[in-house]
Symmetry: C2
Subunit: 602 residues, 2 copies
């Protein structure tokens, strides 16, 4: 019977509302099969989507979407929602796998209300929808679906706090799968556990305490139970929380057993769970997460007061379960709570510990106020290591890594270092943990790990001190002495600039190649020298606006040097190809060389 | 007896620990008198400090500060703490009133652990101190004092959530005065009320639900009750919340009766509470808060779906109690919860309402992620009005208003408008509320309200379109035609640039004066013309780094124009004088004119 379910007939939620309740279990089974095929062949968020299958079917069965509004938090759990809302083919037909993104997107469907990838904000967004409804006298249901660890984010709490006061229809579905990305952390999760263990009857009830009515669904993967609960709250005239207990990874034994590993996975074997990896045997496949973890582990041995901190993404910093156990008290996962991670680091530093916070570029902006106030203004010697801060990193519009440089480097008294290779990254990290005077951000280079023993390492990175390398015209080529050229390559772009310099050397040009090492302040001596240059090109791994290049252009504004700032335009890009974007922005070595030759010809 | 208490003998908390418990009430009375004198003569945070007098005395009496660590949230309630920790004279001697700031400051005292003015982060900071203590095997108590409305901020919740898991000594004192700055808002406050009404015995207990032990002190201004509670938790081996019920404004009848008005006050008459205002009769003393409120009220009449939103500071947007009542459902105070205010605005706009959020510059950075993700990425047509975004605004190091321009203007798809005068501000605000296509930030000009009917107003501010005014050399002066000069004045600095232009006109120079209207994107036509200029000067009301001027310098990098970017250095300033800072930065009209003449002479 399962095999007969024709998914191609499900064009919209209206189609499933024609089914008998008893058929929905078959629908779930029929949907899970192609979903598993896609996840294993294509990669993606495995556990969250398998766990939410039944709840999403029940939501669309009970509520009259799209009139009723459902806002999904951590929208990486919306694959089943996409299947039910006109995008089935993107899960059943490999040729269409890439038609949809991994998050909700209003461009894809009217059922997707927001582009939402940073988690925790669904309740706040839904409270606005509810208030707008009340202002115009509407009657539709407004539902926020939150969970999978995002409840710990401050804005989730702000939303819950305000939402409790709405006094009208407002339904918050808390998807409790007993997991964040790794384990859950924080006091609220002890309450969720208590509620699970008491079938929702415990007196200590966070949601009731905040002013919500409350329903508990123990079998959160049982469609009839879910339908009953959702029907009870449909049309309700006040704020209510529906707490559903779901099984992350449901229906895939390896994912049920290894929840952290299968939160997100690259393509894998459906039976064994083994990754279909491409790394040839014998190649060093350590990425910067591994390098961070190795360096940090060594530093933690040397300094018992050194601590590694993550905000719910231990994988980003290379701390799998084994390393976490080994680190013991020296490892902290605060859950999805970046503000806590950054402010806590300030307290740790003040208390003479050596905190090192590892953050993905896209998420650090959630703690801007803490970087500015708690860290920089208070000059606490904490270290922040930024991963995927690059155009060669994450490429979903909600997870871009090229806005952080201008963001952090314009905060006073915060040293933002931009290593160009593995050796420089390791050196800067060790220096930062050992020094006790200033807060430091280290932006991990983008792309593959690059080793370059020729980069000069320093004992002290407190002051801006650029590395300046003279590159002579290639021997045997007629050298041009009429034009002085400097190429400044920030972080990842240092080596791209060097490649450009080598191309130009073959054209007879000699050049000054500069690794600024820091993106915060200019090296005044270097800038003074550059005033005599004819051409100065900067390239950085981020948007041009607010970045390093514009500081150089400003400093050279009254000189006769022609300055060109290369980098990305200030735009949200979505699922771009890095190599294409690089080309579009004139950021390949040959394009940079052409820019120089073009200016030199004028 | 009270009169005999010699406050000059209180040099440190050790001195009060010598007193009998019974003498502490006299100490409080003796301290309250000069404090009232200072508050009434000097202005400051009135209600919070009067309410916390007894609790602060009891804290320093019981805990062994500075070995025991107390982190004060909303540190504007620490005047009594400053009196007890070596800074008594700053409250008893008018000649020393300005020796101390209004917030905790490690530069002032080792008893002040952090510069903390943005509220809500004390629990997170203290969790770091506690963890650092545990790593080194220390035994001191760590106490976070939070309250006065700041409990609603997301980072407070993140801190509480993590702190609950510490498993060691961690004491959170919740100062519950039944008030934020205005009324309290949000579901948590209904729980605090329930706990007050049940003498702390209610089953619905937010803190217990999060995993804390819990003590309640009903008479939070009764020193013996406080001492008893603090002694009970001193040395405790697990996280505990001590919930104290205090009276905001305690000891000053007008402040007890008018809690919102006396949260913060300019100098006032101690008996009547009337402000000792300096405004001469007959002068229009409306400030931009009043102008905002008037414009907004009119727009709310015209559009029933228009809503004014504040995050706990209705006074900033001119919405006193009367206006709030009149606005009814069209006014929202989410409490100190900027992330909620911004994300909710996105939901409101999506729901076809017309949200207008008013924020102080210094606090908007707490919602950077929501500006970027929920507003800009989702292109929701919400309006944000930024107050005190200026060097002529707030001047405490924790509350500076000159970092927001670069912060917001480098977010894609967010239109940041920079009106130069009252008329332009009103026009931009009305336009923004009426349009339905893009998110808009409007930065209120700094300093006194300036009226300038000569500024050209537009029907549409979607695209960057600069106002360009030609200023001819003064008649009768020999005109110089050898040098082409453009002056670009952003927002507040447009009129300062015009004054500079008038000085230069008297020197025979003709100039192009530019009001960019927007700080986000350059007007490409204008920039193209500027390539033929000899001198281009930009001035903006914020730090130069990441700002508008650097965009101009970058765009003109390959032209022969000499570009100078004027603005503030990237530094945290503390209690500066705006006129002095302006002078230091070369930002007065005569200094700007001199800069031009100097470049023209080269």
């Amino acid at each position: 019977m399962n095999n007969d379910f024709d998914l191609s007939q499900v064009k919209s939620p209206a189609d499933i509302r024609q089914l008998d309740e008893s058929q929905l279990k078959q629908l779930a089974a029929a949907m899970r099969r192609p979903l598993l095929d896609k996840l294993s062949a294509h990669g993606g968020h495995v556990g969250p989507n398998l766990g939410m299958m039944e709840a999403i079917i029940a939501l669309h069965y009970v509520f009259d979407t799209p009139e009723d509004k459902i806002v999904f938090d951590v929208s990486h759990q919306t694959y089943p929602h996409k299947m039910l809302t006109g995008r089935m083919e993107a899960f059943t037909d490999p040729a269409h796998y890439d038609d949809v993104t991994g998050y909700t997107s209003p461009r894809e469907s009217e059922y997707d209300l927001f582009s939402l990838g940073h988690t925790s904000s669904a309740v706040a967004l839904a409270s606005g929808l509810a208030k707008a409804r009340d202002l115009r006298g509407g009657k539709e249901n407004v539902v926020a679906v939150i969970g999978d660890g995002s409840l710990s984010g401050g804005v989730a709490f702000e939303g819950l706090d305000y939402g409790a006061t709405l006094g009208t229809n407002f339904i918050v579905v808390v998807n409790d799968n007993d997991m964040s990305i790794a384990e859950n952390h924080g006091g609220i999760y002890s309450d969720l556990r208590l509620l699970r263990n008491t079938n929702g009857t415990a007196d200590n009830n966070l949601f009731r305490a905040m002013g919500y009515a409350y329903r508990y669904v123990h079998y959160g993967n049982d469609i009839p139970s879910l339908i009953r609960a959702f029907r009870e709250v449909k049309g309700i005239g006040y704020p209510v929380v529906v707490h559903i207990n779901t099984m992350k990874g449901m229906g895939l034994p390896v994912a049920e057993a290894h929840k952290e590993q299968f939160h997100f996975s690259a393509p894998f074997d459906l039976k064994t769970g083994a990754l279909l990896s491409n790394t040839p045997a014998g190649v060093d496949d350590r990425d910067y997460s591994d390098i961070f973890a190795d360096t940090m582990t060594e530093l933690m041995h040397r300094y018992p007061e050194a601590v590694a901190i993550t905000a719910g993404t231990p994988g980003v910093i290379g701390f799998g379960p084994e390393r976490r156990r080994a680190a013991g008290k020296q490892f902290i996962d605060v859950g999805i709570a970046e503000q806590q991670a950054v402010a806590m680091a300030s307290g740790l530093a003040k208390g003479c510990a050596r905190p090192v916070v590892g953050l993905a570029s896209t998420f650090l902006q959630r703690a801007y106020d803490q970087f500015s106030q708690d860290i920089a203004l208070n000059r606490q010697p904490a270290t922040f290591v930024v991963f995927y801060g690059s155009m060669f990193g994450l490429n979903d519009e909600t997870h871009l890594g090229f806005f952080d440089l201008g963001l952090l480097s314009n905060i006073p008294d915060l040293q933002v270092l931009v290593p160009t290779c593995r050796e420089e990254f390791e050196r800067m990290m060790t220096w930062s943990v050992e020094q006790r005077s200033i807060p430091v951000v280290i932006r991990v280079p983008g792309g593959n790990v690059l080793s370059d023993p020729s980069v000069t390492l320093l004992d002290d990175y407190t002051k801006p001190a650029n590395e300046v390398v003279e590159i002579a015209a290639k021997e045997g080529i007629e050298a041009r002495s009429d034009v002085k050229v400097a190429l400044i390559g920030v972080g990842t772009f240092y080596h791209i600039m060097r490649d450009a310099a080598n191309l130009l050397a073959a054209d007879g040009l000699s050049m000054t190649l500069i690794n600024p090492r820091t993106a915060t302040r200019l090296d005044e001596d270097v800038i003074k020298n550059l005033r005599d240059y004819d051409i100065v090109i900067t390239a950085e791994d981020g948007i041009v606006d607010g970045g390093y290049g514009q500081k150089v252009a400003s400093a050279l504004g009254t000189s006769s040097a022609k300055v060109v700032n290369l980098g990305l335009p200030r735009e949200f890009k979505n699922r771009y190809r890095a190599s294409e974007l690089q080309q579009q922005c004139g950021l390949t070595p040959s394009q940079i060389a052409a820019t120089v030759l073009n200016l030199a010809a004028k």
